[in-house]
Symmetry: C2
Subunit: 250 residues, 2 copies
Amino acid sequence: MKVTLVGAGKLGMQLYAKLTCIEEIQFVEWYIRSSKKNKTNEGITITNDAKKLKQTDVYIIAVSDNAIEKVSNILPKNSFVVHTSGCISINKIKQSRRGVFYPIQTFSKGRNIDFSSISIGLETRTKNDYVMLERLVNFFGANCLHINSDQRRQLHLAAVLVNNFPNYLYAQAEVLCIEKGLSFELLKPLLFETVSKLDQLSPIDAQTGPAVRDDEKTIKEHLKLLKKPHLRSIYKLLTKEIQRNNGKKL
Amino acid sequence: MKVTLVGAGKLGMQLYAKLTCIEEIQFVEWYIRSSKKNKTNEGITITNDAKKLKQTDVYIIAVSDNAIEKVSNILPKNSFVVHTSGCISINKIKQSRRGVFYPIQTFSKGRNIDFSSISIGLETRTKNDYVMLERLVNFFGANCLHINSDQRRQLHLAAVLVNNFPNYLYAQAEVLCIEKGLSFELLKPLLFETVSKLDQLSPIDAQTGPAVRDDEKTIKEHLKLLKKPHLRSIYKLLTKEIQRNNGKKL
């Protein structure tokens, strides 16, 4: 299968690294708008001239959500083009052969993602194109997930709840630790346990802490310690919601 | 070292399991208020009569925060008594030889905690008693952390931010998945990656997602999908805070 990759952001870099390792894939070109090099260390051609792009079986767009439509417009008209976004409509791609290839994972600089542990959400307009993406996902060693746009958007929203928001709370916890001369490392076994126990328990059953216990004294104590008004608001709101969901205050 | 344990809640059960395995510890009695048995399967004496408690080197109270003071009152006067709470003052213990033995971890039913990976926060009033708790922590194979009440309370607050609140968000994400016929399992590699990358990156540097990118379109899209008003409020507040902390909207 001949593949062209577009974009060299966090996801683009990971896809690049993976695509170069798959024997069954002929990684033809990497389109990077602002590139000054014309070959990668692994010998893959880099181009910044969309007009000269070679014909391949699939073009994978891994650029920011806002740029997907624009990038699709400069890719060859009669080609199969997929984007990798959790939130953008399949119809932002202008080619009639369009698709979505959405890896359900967070990508950070310098982190090598093990694709074999993740699912990739697929959407296409024809069966044939679906089969091609399915092959691609198999080459990645990932799990195939047939989802429509509606499911994909919801999954993307859920991903924000399990990834971006907890990470923000970790950052705030780190600040609290530093304020008192404590290392954030102390909390890491707790972070891991909170996630690991989901192998056994549904999160609703795994809920612990002062909110679910309705431990008003501790909650008051914590609010006294919280000096930042915005973090206080978040504490209050999440605590109220945990209590409400616990059925005690409905 | 002779030890008495008080309480058979989530933490009490874990302490029981661990204490019975440590050769250097003579686990004398387990005080459980509502117990009907008088021996455990491992042969440890269970009692519900505080007046008959035998003299031991240390009494470990693992009961709910609200009950600590009351329990301390019924334990032998001239003994060394410690509680295990992150939030309660050392002075709620009435014995003059008092201490805190606070395992920085979340404890759930049916989960065996590996004490060797965690830290236990210690506070005592005398050096001698500290040395005794330090020995106990060493028997547990855990890391000793000398902290005062002020640090302990802050650590407990930080623990809520990294444990209870993310867990609530996981529960809400699971609901969103179920609504669209998707499995929560799909998000687990993402959950793990978010936590695992903290080995390399500080959470403030690890922040990803629409908020930190100021991706207003996606944020609007997500708010449209969120039907529960309370979850919408949480989404808005956390998004605003991530943006503010990113320095873009200060």
